[in-house]
Symmetry: C2
Subunit: 499 residues, 2 copies
Amino acid sequence: MGKKQKIFRPKARIPKGLRDIPAAAVRAEAAMLARIREVYEAYGFEPLETSAFEYADALGKFLPDADRPNEGVFSLQDDDEQWLSLRYDLTAPLARYVAEHYDGLPKPFRRYQTGPVWRNEKPGPGRFRQFTQFDADTVGAPTVAADAELCMMAADCLEALGIPRGSYVMRVNNRKVLDGVFENAGITGEGAEFEARHLTVMRAIDKLDRLGPEGVRLLLGKGRKDESGDFTEGAHLSDEQIDRIMAFTGAGGDDRAAVCARMGELVGDSARGLEGVAEMRLIDELLSAGGYGADRVAFDPSVVRGLGYYTGPVFEAELTFEAETEDGRMRFGSVGGGGRYDDLVERFKGVKVPATGFSIGVSRLYAALEALGKLETETVLPPVIVLTMDNDRLADYQRMVMELRAAGIRAEMYLGGSGMRAQVKYADKRGAPCVVIEGEDERAAGEVTIKDLILGAQKAEEITDNTEWRESAHAQISVPRAGLVGAVKDVLARHTAAR
Amino acid sequence: MGKKQKIFRPKARIPKGLRDIPAAAVRAEAAMLARIREVYEAYGFEPLETSAFEYADALGKFLPDADRPNEGVFSLQDDDEQWLSLRYDLTAPLARYVAEHYDGLPKPFRRYQTGPVWRNEKPGPGRFRQFTQFDADTVGAPTVAADAELCMMAADCLEALGIPRGSYVMRVNNRKVLDGVFENAGITGEGAEFEARHLTVMRAIDKLDRLGPEGVRLLLGKGRKDESGDFTEGAHLSDEQIDRIMAFTGAGGDDRAAVCARMGELVGDSARGLEGVAEMRLIDELLSAGGYGADRVAFDPSVVRGLGYYTGPVFEAELTFEAETEDGRMRFGSVGGGGRYDDLVERFKGVKVPATGFSIGVSRLYAALEALGKLETETVLPPVIVLTMDNDRLADYQRMVMELRAAGIRAEMYLGGSGMRAQVKYADKRGAPCVVIEGEDERAAGEVTIKDLILGAQKAEEITDNTEWRESAHAQISVPRAGLVGAVKDVLARHTAAR
């Protein structure tokens, strides 16, 4: 084809790691977002929309794999030489927004935002370079009551979406406690080198799920060679330090107060660590007062969160059930997370603005709800199709669809170039409940024929004999032209009742 | 500040030509999109979402100012060297989608899509580099009944949004008729040079609104020097050719049939021109049958549309009223447009796939509705704020907000670090209908105080004497703790009734 003519024909393909979302999924996702919005609004959060781009320096470098050359972000240079980046999350743009409009905002500033974010990462199965997040943040709230609230709200969201209690858990930890454990274990220092080491330790802990305790011990020590032979440099902690870290990550459990007690032991007399433990105790108190037991919100020191900007409580929403997916039986794991980031607005303003937030990974949660059969897929009935039997009578068919729409019924006139058989096939493909036919005969008799496609399909399934099928499977009736709307309504009522 | 410490502080600023959308506007825009969606769905269109990026070659070069160096598009190179571009409209991605999934789609394929698009253009007042469009397209529809339908649907949309009949008009023209006029005037040729000249003529016509007939005549002839002294090269048509073009652009009027007749004269015996006139006659027939008079959908040969990909009917939605805006009294002009693009899918597939579409410029239409006072701004009541009078009793306050939420009332506990005065100020700023107070005294009495902020503000306006204000403006009542929800409901009922 390309050889015969010299015209350039681009290949029709979506860029790698991106995807199109067809009608049913668009509707189901919208229903899902509406549920989340209801919960966020009940808690007093207000919407905000920021643009897709931020100046690169405003976004900062907080992504887990900041060591990749392009740092995980899509960036380009503006015509005034400034670098623009597509947002990789909704938190960094919020920090910019708050810093820019600080004086005019109510404090605390409670906002929710949903929209796409972009990561310039290697795509994989279920791992896209554009995905949707739905965040709620409280900026200007020093108390961890704000963090406790977010954990409760996240649990409410998951239940509002149909995930049963017991099938999810919010897991909470605290970076201050982690810092205290480091300090008490003698992992101390200052400056960029210490921070890099600190990050290495946190990322090692973050891999506990995937690598198991032995793998993490290697990463905390000399380093680890993976199956492909690639070597990852370790954090070079001593065996005793590693023991303490591992003891900490294993200190979770069903009793939040007991976890707090173990945390208290592991931080020793580190002031920062003790502050973190006190925060966890307050969070426990508020959760308990709210009736949120450890089955819904648990304390788990193995949660660290990859992002570099957290400073206090961190939390992760985890689905605990297994489900059948295209890739076999699997646990969905994390569908959201967040934490406290007291320094993010300070980056701009030079003054502390304590803040905390929670982000739902909409695309991942969607996949989980799909596997659970909890998506709201119904919602909108497909349109009634009026067939175009005669191209000279388009105005008459158009009048029919207008009458149907005026009665609140989705309807369209067939606008393709094919004959009747193909038109009915088209209506089937659209899932149309029925088609309306006014050919020469009907016209002469002053009638229209309404063919019930859903009933027709059911009958066709029941009937094996082909002749009989031809007779009855049509499931069609003829009514006077003036009775069009009423007859279509009858068909729709039958289907709505059956659903 | 920056001099005292060496820490890098990025300036908190949104990139130029972009904007943040605050809560009330997010809600009003969502209400607007819901109205448009209802109309599109009634017409049988189904949603689709494509990603923000497309491969640059798939998008093609169809923007009006393709002569700028960056061609109006934000582009960057992927790590496999391929160029990615952010979509500049929703039509080109649709063409890519249809070509990629052609065999599996129902034909015609009727889809709607809304979302941001990006243009790398010079920003100006009300002219942003990210804005929202809301499109509906019918792909695989050879008949201009599809175009007529889009014009009617666009008119329905504007009325559904509250724009009164008479305050808008859909203006329709046809590129084939324009081609016929060119041919009949002896403006003929082939290849890239002719196409460029053709485009120069169309863009000249497109400037009729701004430059008037004299300015356009110059652009059709030798060229035009603007006020700044910049010279724009003309199309170098002869005076007689210019006369014919100008006669055509002036051939509009209130009677669609009469416009068709004048079009017929101006195309002479150009086959393509006559085809276009026949199309316009069919569109007129369908519009008239549908009851859409020229007050709603008019034929206007001065409409050409800037985009390069149109091949048949083109249409523009214009608001005809003047309104007071920040920049003074002005006519809003175009808030949407579209047309037929029979070649856009062919670019990929090598086979004709006739298509037509209409796009609403959501951001512009929003500004127009705002000026008209037709935005749905109400929608969600601000939250009730429970003050935190005592930091040791957060669990008690949290219980109150939980009770309120369980009763369907938006509510939040104050989470900032300030005292009571600032807390009430915060509640005012949030627009809270009331605050709930349980201080030491109330606690001792087993009561809570509910302070009606809206009533309080009204009273404060009526009262000039400061002492009296202190007494009465509080508009507050104390109720037993168990009566909290009921008392708050009473306050809300009063306000809802008053609105």
